[in-house]
Symmetry: C2
Amino acid sequence: MFGQLLSEVVTGIDGAIGAVLMGADGLPVDQVVGDPSRGDIEAMAMELSVVLREIRKAAVQLGAGQAEEVMIRGASMTTLIRVLNDEYFVALALPAEASVGKGRYLLRRAAPRLRENL
Amino acid sequence: MFGQLLSEVVTGIDGAIGAVLMGADGLPVDQVVGDPSRGDIEAMAMELSVVLREIRKAAVQLGAGQAEEVMIRGASMTTLIRVLNDEYFVALALPAEASVGKGRYLLRRAAPRLRENL
């Protein structure tokens, strides 16, 4: 179920590196790899869960409210994160040249269905 | 000089809370407040510089390369960050309902001119 939804996200955007459904504790629930040459999506997700914890704390302290979405664009990869609830998030890794807007749209569309099945 | 460029960013988008040019060490260089009712943009920027340090480390470890841009969308505020160089970044705080795409565009447009004057 999760695999199918993640797969829709990954195939929805050219060159997508992969998508992963993660627990906030750093444990991956399910993942779909789009470009296996781009490294270990599971290791990436663990790293993300650590940063996301910091970001979530900071968002509240900033007065921004609960963090709902995070984008980190690096020189060679863009990472999009959508928080599903207190315990789970979904992340999408894209090549630097991919459309951030399209990626955000795909995660936004998948989020309610992922949440329903958690 | 910086104030004028930050002001162009803030006035370019309806309801913008403020923009700040920051040192990576947490010291603000210049700032423009768009909506003073939305809290202390300087305190916000200091908090951001801490998170950004973590994000930059993580981006490299993720294999994403040097972090260039970060977006944190919270329930009540969106924060956009654009890294200018190793030592400086510019941040824009927007209300939750503002267009992320427009904000990114305004920062992207201002970045080369801010960088030139650093």
